[in-house]
């Protein structure tokens, strides 16, 4: 009874959202005579209808109502409550609803904001509502989370232990806020094109949203990478896997976009390119979420199992891409202002790095699509090795670092390269010395690695010193603080990536209890092995102590868990984090009684790597928040 009632309520709420979306899109069709409610009131209804239906879905998962297909297939009564909750978006239908929830949330927030004119706001909300209409229709017809069955199932099927992880519970919502944030940027761009108002004002409206979306996207990707690092136990943090690449591609284009928005705000130029990037970023975000979720990227064959959904997304993508680029072609003449910048201005530097980002994007795109193409055309399965990405991207990154150092030193007008060089002489000399000493100390011989380390060091120091003003007694934070934190973070990140690649070590031992294992300067004292019975699994745990130069650095307890329902084996890595190096141990399923296989890893600079990533995210957030003040300051000059 209850289930049936909830089924109807939820579906009615979705239909309510459809209706409000139609009402909201009226501004696109010049129907203005409906004034019963204001835009923000209707947006509020739109938002609430989805929010309540999302809460209903959460309620169904928490109360384990197996009359609903989705709960039956993806949940289980014995799951801990937090994983019942994350089970809501751990499947296709639920994640679609979450996606739509964020879409209406952004629409609602924008309808409340006061930064834009009434007309501009009306059209933006209309465009956004048109998209909401499309997605809610898709949800209702092809991917309804509220379908019920007539069986009386006692328990659900979804108890996959590997997916029961706190990081995996928050990773999708964060990533989605990033992806969906770009839907608003897309709507803003369409509005800008329609009204031919792509100018400094437009950039000022768009800037906080685009930086916020970018920060969330960065954080989402980083969380996924961190999960892979400690859960998969392969010692890496990035595998150039198609699913990872699908999230990296919108990030690369979004990174180019945030810089263009800044240029547009400061110099009122690069209008067309900004529009192209905004459309591209959103298209890649759409492709990223849905092609991954429908399984197209893993294999062309899974596509066939779900033809309706895949086809809908492809049609939707096609409509969005073709209509927005058509609009762009019609309007690009009107929005472009003649740009009069000097070749040695900051614009040039940013433009060059835009092209470099797009080059990396092309490398990733080709590497991801090539296997799909050969499978479709030649029926030949193949994989692209990680070597391809390393070889193709390294030279681009070196150029990228160079221009990342140079551009902020250039002024927006004309600048003299010699003067910049002489201003930077202390930084250059000190970085050269540090690089030289590290090279000697660590026996580095590879020129590429030395060059990247050198450039990263300059980037870190020059970025930090440009964001802070050192007066004799106090430190003043300048308005470009966000940028300087993010750029320094990228330098730190690159430094860690290179050193990690060079100095990582791993080895495998067939170890007996009582033996001492060695890797580099570390001694692993294998003390004991224990079997334990837990609530829903049995485990085998190994205990090891880590020593370096006779000093005890900590205890390892890697574990293998045997779940019975469904029969699954998972291994828990055990990591000791030190300031400059992670040491970690993975254990194998025991094949015989006497010994056990252990894999030992030394991963240097992992903490530094995550520190760099956190600084990049922080820089984005700071810039999103500081935006308004900065615009007012700049409006004067």
């Amino acid at each position: 009874m209850m289930s049936l009632a909830l089924h109807y309520v939820a579906n009615l709420l979705l239909i309510l959202c459809l209706v409000t979306s139609i009402i909201q899109s009226r501004f696109l069709f010049k129907i203005q005579n409906y004034n019963l409610f204001s835009i923000s009131q209707i947006s509020a209804i739109q938002f609430l209808s989805i929010l309540v239906s999302f809460f209903i879905l959460i309620f169904l998962f928490i109360t384990s109502d197996f009359n609903f297909d989705l709960v039956y297939f993806h949940s289980h009564s014995e799951k801990p409550i937090i994983y019942k909750l994350s089970g809501v978006w751990g499947n296709h239908e639920g994640s679609m609803l979450l996606w739509i929830l964020i879409l209406v949330l952004f629409n609602f927030l924008f309808s409340l904001s006061k930064s834009s004119s009434q007309k501009f706001k009306e059209i933006t909300v209309a465009v956004q509502s048109l998209m909401i209409f499309g997605f809610v229709l898709f949800l209702l017809l092809l991917s309804n989370p509220f379908n019920i069955n007539n069986e009386n199932f006692n328990d659900g099927l979804g108890l996959n232990p590997i997916l029961q992880d706190p990081l995996l519970a928050i990773h999708p919502p964060i990533l989605y806020i990033g992806y969906v944030g770009f839907s608003l940027i897309f709507s803003l761009s369409i509005t800008g094109l329609l009204t031919s108002e792509v100018d400094r004002k437009w950039a000022t409206i768009a800037k906080p949203w685009v930086f916020a979306a970018w920060s969330f996207l960065t954080a989402g990707i980083a969380l996924g990478s961190y999960w892979a690092y400690y859960e998969l136990g392969w010692g890496g943090y990035w595998f150039w896997d198609p699913v990872e690449n699908a999230s990296l591609m919108p990030w690369l284009s979004a990174t180019a976009l945030i810089h263009c928005v800044v240029v547009l705000q400061r110099r009122n130029t690069m209008q067309s390119w900004t529009m192209v990037l905004a459309i591209l970023t959103f298209s890649l975000s759409l492709a990223g979420t849905f092609l991954v979720r429908s399984g197209v990227l893993n294999s062309v064959h899974t596509f066939a199992s779900d033809p309706g959904r895949g086809l809908f997304i492809l049609i939707f993508l096609f409509i969005i891409l073709s209509s927005s680029f058509l609009l762009f072609a019609l309007k690009s003449e009107k929005i472009n202002k003649p740009s009069l910048h000097n070749i040695s201005s900051r614009n040039t530097g940013i433009m060059v790095n835009n092209w470099l980002l797009i080059s990396i994007l092309s490398v990733v795109f080709l590497g991801t699509m090539y296997p799909l193409a050969t499978d479709l055309i030649y029926n030949q399965s193949l994989t692209v090795g990680p070597q391809y990405y390393a070889i193709s991207i390294t030279p681009i990154i070196i150029l990228f670092l160079f221009f990342m150092i140079l551009s902020p030193q250039l002024s927006w007008g004309e600048s003299k390269l010699l003067k910049i060089l002489s201003e930077m002489r202390y930084i250059l000399i000190s970085c050269l010395t540090i690089t030289f000493l590290t090279t000697l100390y660590f026996d580095l011989f590879n020129f590429t690695e030395i060059l990247i380390i050198f450039l990263s060091l300059i980037l870190i120091i020059s970025s930090l010193s440009s964001g802070l003003n050192f007066k004799s007694t106090k430190v003043i934070v300048k308005s470009n603080f966000g940028q300087s934190i993010a750029h320094a973070g990228f330098g730190i990140f690159m430094l860690a990536v290179v050193s990690n690649a060079v100095y990582s070590q791993e080895t495998i031992y067939d170890a007996k209890v009582g033996s001492k294992l060695q890797l580099d300067e570390y001694i692993f004292d294998f003390k004991n092995i224990e079997q334990e019975e837990k609530d829903n699994f049995n485990s085998i745990k190994a205990y090891l102590s880590l020593f370096k130069n006779g000093k005890n650095l900590g205890e390892f307890s890697p574990e293998i868990r045997f779940y019975s329902d469904p029969p699954t084996i998972t291994s828990e890595t055990s990591i000791i984090h030190q300031l400059f190096s992670d040491v970690y141990v993975v254990m194998n399923v025991p094949q015989n009684q006497e010994s056990i296989s252990l894999r030992l890893h030394i991963k240097p600079f992992m903490n530094i790597l995550w520190l760099g990533v956190i600084m990049i995210i922080l820089g984005g957030i700071i810039t999103a928040i500081l935006n308004r003040k900065k615009y007012e300051e700049n409006a004067i000059n």
């Binding site: 080709l366 090539y370 193949l382 994989t383 699954t568």
Partner: protein, 144 residues
């Protein structure tokens, strides 16, 4: 042709050429780094021996897994028609089991053995690598 149109045309052509060269370099590099996937029948048919790294996928033959200590494992991969004996030193993934799908990466030797340096694992106990499904379908061993 007006001056602005001419300028634009030149700009367009130059960027097209640069872009084309970049794509050529990337694709050239790509071809050097692809790893082909074969089923046991295909690898025997193509006689893909030598130094090139390839992937081999199929089912782990039942009662074929032997361990001789020091984390060295021997097992057979089959697609129902042919089987290849695989040698691997390292840690087997948790989901590795007899009569389950597996993909290994390594070198196919002249003597017909396969020396693997990687055994690939996926997250789900029901997961079957799509390439393996495809090759099993081709030999008629696939059951829905």
């Amino acid at each position: 042709m007006t001056d602005t149109v001419k300028k634009r045309l030149i700009k367009f052509l130059v960027s097209l050429i640069i872009f084309g060269i970049a794509i050529l370099i990337i694709v050239y590099n790509l071809r050097d780094n692809i790893v082909y996937f074969y089923s046991p029948s295909e690898i025997i048919e193509n006689n893909q021996t030598g130094s090139q790294i390839v992937r081999l996928g199929g089912l782990v033959e039942s009662e074929s897994v032997v361990s001789d200590g020091d984390s060295i494992f021997h097992f057979n991969i089959t697609d129902g028609q042919e089987q290849i004996s695989v040698k691997y030193q390292g840690i087997l993934p948790n989901l590795f089991a007899e009569e389950k799908g597996v993909v290994v990466e390594g070198i196919y030797m002249n003597d017909g053995r396969f020396i693997a340096n990687k055994v690939l694992a996926k997250h789900d106990e029901n997961y079957m690598p799509p390439e393996v499904i495809k090759s099993l379908k081709e030999t008629g061993k696939w059951q829905e």
